[in-house]
């Protein structure tokens, strides 16, 4: 019996090792391509092990950092700003909603919930943001739309509602205002859910490419992921009109390996950040998803 159990465990571990290998493999292919030299990549195609190992793609990025550094700066700025203000503002509205006695609570809940059911859609949103608010080609367009996500507000609300009322009641008796209770008690006690939401907001913004696709034409304001997307589009356009002059232009574009290196550099921070949050977010996700 004991032996059988051990064998089962070994089989399971082997299965998951192979499965995880398959999951990582596609990403590894990208990393490997970025470590190859472009001539051998064009000759032999993508390889699991780069042969010969060549760091020139990363060298190229280091020598010509303006464009990518700029996109990094832009992306980092709006990601962090959205994360800080998003979490703060969502906690501010989630706290009143977690208080069962509050009048009008259901109306506010519905006010938020309705935006999950129904939306204006691409074109009306575009007209409002660009023609009415004139936010296109500004950093604000990355930050403000969607800053308040009902889904995350409800996650926080459920978590806040689970905090024992006795703690808040005693603060109330001591004469603390609701602001003080929110910032002094509720927020410090809700680290798992706040960290989870902060991580999700940050990563969603870090990986945001379609905002720029719609609203940004100024190349100085390109987000990191859009920069990558734009390179593919430009190359496809040139390929479609592959005249002699276009082929000359093609050689000016970043090579395959450089683009792969840029993709790795763009994906990197997200992958490095998230394992540190993992202990919070499995907890935050599961607590928050239980309906309140």
């Amino acid at each position: 019996m004991k032996k059988q159990k051990l064998i089962n465990q070994i089989i399971l571990c082997t299965f998951f090792s192979i499965f995880c290998g398959l999951i990582i493999f596609p990403f590894w292919l990208l990393v490997s391509a970025s470590l190859s030299d472009s001539a051998s990549l064009l000759e032999t195609g993508y390889r699991i092990i780069p042969k010969p190992l060549d760091l020139s793609a990363y060298g190229y990025i280091m020598r010509n950092p303006q464009q990518i550094l700029n996109a990094y700066g832009i992306t980092f700025t709006f990601s962090v700003t959205s994360m800080v203000f998003g979490v703060l503002l969502m906690a501010m509205i989630a706290y009143p909603l977690s208080r069962s006695g509050l009048k009008g609570r259901n109306a506010i809940n519905f006010y938020l919930y309705f935006t999950m059911l129904f939306s204006g859609g691409l074109v009306p949103t575009y007209i409002i943001i660009s023609s009415v608010l004139h936010l296109n080609n500004t950093l604000w367009v990355y930050i403000l739309p969607g800053l308040i996500s009902p889904w995350y507000v409800f996650m926080m609300r459920t978590f806040f509602a689970g905090i024992p009322d006795a703690i808040m009641e005693s603060a109330r008796i001591d004469g603390a205002s609701e602001y003080k209770i929110l910032f002094g008690i509720v927020i410090p006690l809700s680290k798992p859910v706040l960290a989870t939401v902060a991580l999700f907001v940050f990563l969603a913004k870090w990986n945001d490419w379609n905002t720029a696709l719609i609203y940004i034409t100024d190349s100085k304001l390109y987000s990191l992921q859009y920069l990558l997307q734009k390179m593919v589009e430009d190359i496809n356009i040139l390929k479609e009109n592959a005249t002699v002059s276009a082929i000359n232009d093609l050689s000016k574009l970043p090579t395959e390996t450089v683009r792969m290196a840029m993709a790795v550099v763009a994906a990197g921070p997200a992958l490095i950040v998230f394992p540190f949050f993992q202990k919070y977010f499995v907890k935050g996700l599961t607590v928050g998803s239980v309906k309140g």
């Binding site: 195609g45 006010y111 935006t115 009306p124 609701e178 589009e233 792969m260 993709a263 994906a267 992958l271």
Partner: protein, 309 residues
């Protein structure tokens, strides 16, 4: 009397916390809904939202009668249906197997690796898919070459894409989706397992009779909620991963409502088709809303019925 007054002050404090978030939601979610009136207008850029001419339902009529309508609905529904079926199946299997692992450290490492692709942007995923499928350098064609198969230009083969997109979808989401199921399994009362062991149930029986049944309510609810969103396609997946439908070659299987809306928006920068595009969006939103409300009601029914056991 005194007490009631104190509560009002507190209430005011609570309401004041809601003001800024509610204003933001008003501006960025509710104001565009007003803009939906252009779905019923012949929108002209120089006339603007309010002064353009009313045309009733002709934008909707034009769209429903156009050739592309059937294609969009079919592609959106079928692709999403495949994502739901295979996505739920794979994430449940992964969760059950992870649960069977007794070593918690190993579980954690595997889980972390499985979740990783979820945090890659669709653009990076498109790069990765291209590394595998590229006609000249792609890894898949190299593998096929070993078996003597000629290189295939995958970006010109529409029929290959529903499976490719489904695989990509599962690859990106299986880890994250299995977290919820895994958490539900962690909540099973261990006394059940002890009782089963005393009764001489083996591992397989345990899985079939305790583990899987305990997931059924959650699977049902999550599936129903996903069906509610079946008219909404993941724009990133269908637009960048297919390289914009490889400029038209793949539209027959990959053109979905969301990509259609984006393209007709982008191709008419003058704004003359905005009315039509807004009408398509409104149609999608309304049908989506009805489905979500209906499926929500259904899930509540399921939850209560199963909750009786």
């Amino acid at each position: 009397m005194k007490k009631r007054k104190r509560i009002t002050v507190r209430d005011m404090q609570l309401y004041s916390l809601c003001i800024i978030p509610m204003i933001l939601v008003f501006i960025f979610n509710y104001m565009p809904m007003v803009g939906l009136i252009i779905a019923f207008k012949n929108y002209k850029f120089n006339l603007g939202m309010f002064r353009s001419q009313w045309v009733g339902f002709s934008n909707f009529e034009f769209f429903i009668k156009s050739d592309v309508f059937f294609q969009l609905v079919r592609n959106t529904l079928l692709n999403n249906f495949a994502f739901i079926v295979f996505g739920v199946m794979s994430s449940v299997i992964v969760a059950v197997l992870l649960f069977e692992l007794t070593n918690r450290n190993a579980t954690k490492i595997f889980q972390t690796i499985l979740i990783t692709p979820h945090f890659l942007s669709w653009v990076v995923v498109a790069y990765i898919v291209n590394a595998i499928l590229n006609v000249n350098y792609g890894y898949l064609n190299q593998l096929l070459g070993l078996f003597g198969v000629d290189a295939v230009d995958w970006y010109a083969k529409p029929n290959a894409w529903p499976p490719i997109l489904t695989l990509t979808f599962i690859w990106k989401n299986v880890g994250m989706d299995s977290v919820v199921y895994y958490a539900a399994l962690m909540g099973i009362d261990t006394a059940l397992f002890e009782a089963a062991e005393v009764d001489g149930a083996n591992k397989l029986k345990r899985t079939l009779h305790i583990v899987i049944p305990s997931l059924v309510p959650l699977i049902t609810i999550l599936t129903i909620l996903k069906i509610g969103n079946i008219f909404r396609a993941d724009f990133g997946l269908f637009y960048t991963v297919t390289q914009d439908g490889a400029s038209g070659n793949l539209y027959s299987t990959t053109n979905v409502i969301d990509t259609y809306i984006f393209r007709s928006f982008k191709e008419n920068a003058s704004g003359n088709s905005y009315g039509l595009t807004a009408a398509v969006g409104l149609l999608q939103s309304v049908v989506g809303m009805i489905l979500v409300i209906a499926t929500n009601a259904a899930s509540k029914k399921v939850d209560k019925e199963l909750g009786l056991f």
